[in-house]
């Protein structure tokens, strides 16, 4: 696919989250996940919302903060090979609009979930733990930080 390639965009992964329509696609996919979970008959509403929140945060953590590098070869000689996708967004510039969007959306989902679970304590603990696990890696202070050497190489 590399026809006449290598313009000054060394890592196309950095621009994916800014492309047209991806925020909408993200919201739609969370909606689809929620509807699929709602259609399972033996889950109550609070359970469905907690499951949506937890699965969303789990998938976000896996895709943005676990998987490192790029699925294609880049001409930048592997500078981004050890960086997760979150760290690659906009070449590491903090607080850009996609980063803000991706930080706010788990919070919004958390607020909706707390409402629909009627602030039940057990659900609260699970949801808060899940939210923290996906919010902490997004802090600017955690850029490039690997706790206990997990996922370093």
């Amino acid at each position: 696919m590399n026809v006449g390639v290598a313009h000054s965009e060394v890592n196309p992964n950095t621009r994916v989250m800014n492309s047209r329509g991806i925020w909408l696609a993200y919201i739609i996919s969370v909606g689809v996940l929620h509807i699929v979970l709602l259609s399972i008959p033996f889950f109550s509403i609070p359970v469905v919302w907690t499951l949506t929140n937890v699965i969303h945060n789990l998938v976000m953590y896996l895709l943005l903060h676990t998987v490192k590098g790029t699925p294609f070869e880049t001409p930048d000689q592997g500078k981004d090979r050890l960086l997760t996708h979150w760290e690659q967004i906009d070449y590491g510039t903090q607080c850009t609009s996609s980063r803000k969007f991706l930080s706010i959306s788990p919070v919004v989902l958390y607020l909706l979930t707390s409402f629909y679970t009627k602030y039940d304590p057990a659900h609260f603990v699970i949801n808060t733990a899940s939210l923290l696990s996906v919010l902490l890696p997004k802090l600017p202070q955690f850029h490039g930080v690997r706790v206990f050497g997990i996922n370093k190489y």
């Binding site: 390639v5 590098g69 930048d76």
Partner: protein
């Protein structure tokens, strides 16, 4: 309505360029497509790892598994799960001269494109919409070929030396004088390889302490040359003059990053026609900016020389400007002249400097004599000096073909990027599956096209790129258009809502994130 720029009389003709915005539904479906492909990719990798499916990829031997891994699995993910599945649309072996029609060797794959076998059949007379054959000089018969054959028997095939040692033939001098006359500059120098012309000469022109302002979508050779030079590189948005002016102002006001000293040189790198977008550079505005802020201009006319302008002299003639305004005019002989190599034209002092200090002149072999003769003959043909009007007819035929083809495609309802007059026509496909489908369907209908996808283009903007040629007759274009129409209906490619985004209203924001600021 196409936005027609007049900009205070800088443009002597309307500048029609448009990039229609991606329809939102198409964008979302494209992401869904890539998501599904990624999921299936992970599934297949899982099956390969657990030996349910045979792994055709390169893997280490059993004894090497304990060492540091030799192959990076994840970087190859895209290659083995997406590219391999549609690999038959690229690297197709051809067995005739790639003119307007080409013969192709048929190949089949029994293991989903991991290996190919030739059936032995040759598919004849495929209409070639992929070669950069703008003026139709890719021929193996005719005056160019006879002249080149004579020179081959006289001078031999190669010079086996660099320009500075023993490789400077009288043919090279003749070629350089001819190129200088063709372009309207004082002097020119020719090199054996177009890529090497850019990557080896930009370091000779700029160095540390200089500033390079290069367009977003500049070619790999320009990017490599800029990086090799050691100058600071700042990128301005594609063809966006506000972005360029802002960068120029900031550079002159703030100077070099830490020391605040003035820059030694500011060089603007642009291309004549950008082959992936089909857009033409806004040369009058660039030259006005260059004069206002006293910087230098390097114009890479790889695709536009021979293809634009009433007599084929390139983008400078297309806009009716003075060639002396462009400091360094670079171009290649690969596209319109049917040969190989590149040239740089400019003032005599500049070219004399390059003859001594350019890496290509000192270390690279000079051009092969038959190739030089091909360029000389084709250039004389274009200029009309061989006594016929063949050259002029070809240039006009190319312009007519371009306008006709683009108009018909737009009427059919496809989204076409780029300028009205550029012979490079990108047709948007957007979805990953349509990349493979389009290439294969067109081959079934005997038309050869080039399709491009991510990561060469932004993730949602995969496209098929048609390169028009003066060798295409109207009947060929009509056949091609009919087939494209059919395939467009079959694959539902007619996305255009005829709501074109006027260029100047494209939001120019401050968000240019560069990777490093030196």
């Amino acid at each position: 309505i196409n936005h027609i720029v007049h900009n205070g009389g800088l443009y002597k003709r309307p500048f029609n360029e448009a990039f229609e915005e991606t329809p939102m539904l198409v964008a979302v479906l494209t992401y869904v497509g890539y998501g599904v492909l990624t999921l299936f990719g992970y599934l297949r990798d899982f099956m390969r790892q657990w030996k349910i499916e045979k792994c055709q990829n390169a893997t280490e031997r059993e004894e090497q598994k304990d060492f540091v891994p030799l192959y990076q699995d994840f970087e190859n993910f895209y290659n083995r799960n997406l590219y391999m599945r549609i690999r038959d649309s690229w690297n197709r072996p051809i067995c005739s001269v790639p003119g307007a029609k080409v013969d192709m060797m048929e190949r089949v794959s029994h293991d989903y494109n991991w290996t190919f076998t030739y059936t032995g059949r040759v598919i004849k007379d495929i209409i070639n919409m992929g070669s950069y054959n703008y003026l139709g000089f890719a021929q193996n018969a005719g005056t160019c070929q006879e002249a080149a054959a004579k020179v081959l028997s006289q001078y031999g095939a190669g010079v086996c030396s660099t320009r500075q040692e023993m490789g400077n033939l009288d043919k090279h001098e003749e070629l350089e004088k001819l190129v200088a006359r063709f372009l309207g500059v004082e002097s020119a120098m020719a090199y054996g390889m177009g890529f090497a012309t850019n990557s080896m000469n930009i370091p000779a022109l700029v160095g540390k302490g200089c500033l390079i302002l290069s367009d977003e979508l500049n070619h790999a050779s320009l990017v490599l040359g800029a990086r090799l030079s050691g100058a600071t590189i700042r990128i301005f948005k594609h063809n966006n003059m506000q972005s360029l002016e802002k960068l120029l102002k900031d550079a002159i006001v703030h100077g070099q990053p830490r020391t605040r000293r003035p820059w030694k040189k500011i060089l603007i790198l642009v291309e004549g026609i950008y082959s992936m977008e089909g857009s033409i550079v806004r040369l009058p505005e660039v030259i006005a900016l260059k004069k206002k802020y006293k910087s230098y201009l390097y114009l890479d006319e790889a695709h536009s020389i021979g293809a634009l302008g009433p007599t084929g002299r390139g983008v400078v003639e297309y806009f009716g400007l003075n060639p002396e305004d462009v400091d360094v005019m670079m171009g290649t002989f690969t596209k319109s002249f049917g040969a190989a190599g590149g040239y740089i034209g400019g003032k005599k002092e500049l070219i004399d400097y390059l003859r001594t200090y350019s890496h290509s002149a000192v270390y690279a072999t000079s051009m092969s004599p038959p190739v030089v003769e091909q360029i000389i003959t084709s250039m004389k043909c274009i200029m009309g000096e061989d006594g016929t009007t063949v050259g002029k007819a070809r240039v006009q035929q190319l312009a007519e073909n371009t306008r006709y083809f683009r108009r018909r495609l737009k009427e059919m309802g496809f989204i076409i990027y780029g300028n009205e007059d550029s012979p490079v026509v990108p047709l948007m496909l957007y979805m990953p599956a349509k990349i493979g489908a389009f290439g294969r369907e067109m081959l079934k209908r005997n038309i050869g096209v080039v399709v491009v996808g991510f990561p060469a283009t932004p993730i949602i903007e995969s496209r098929a790129r048609f390169c028009l040629s003066a060798a295409h007759t109207k009947e060929m274009l009509d056949t091609a258009l009919k087939e494209i129409n059919e395939v467009g209906d079959l694959l539902q490619l007619k996305y255009s809502r005829h709501r074109l985004v006027p260029l100047l209203d494209r939001p120019f924001d401050e968000t240019t994130y560069e990777e490093t600021e030196d």
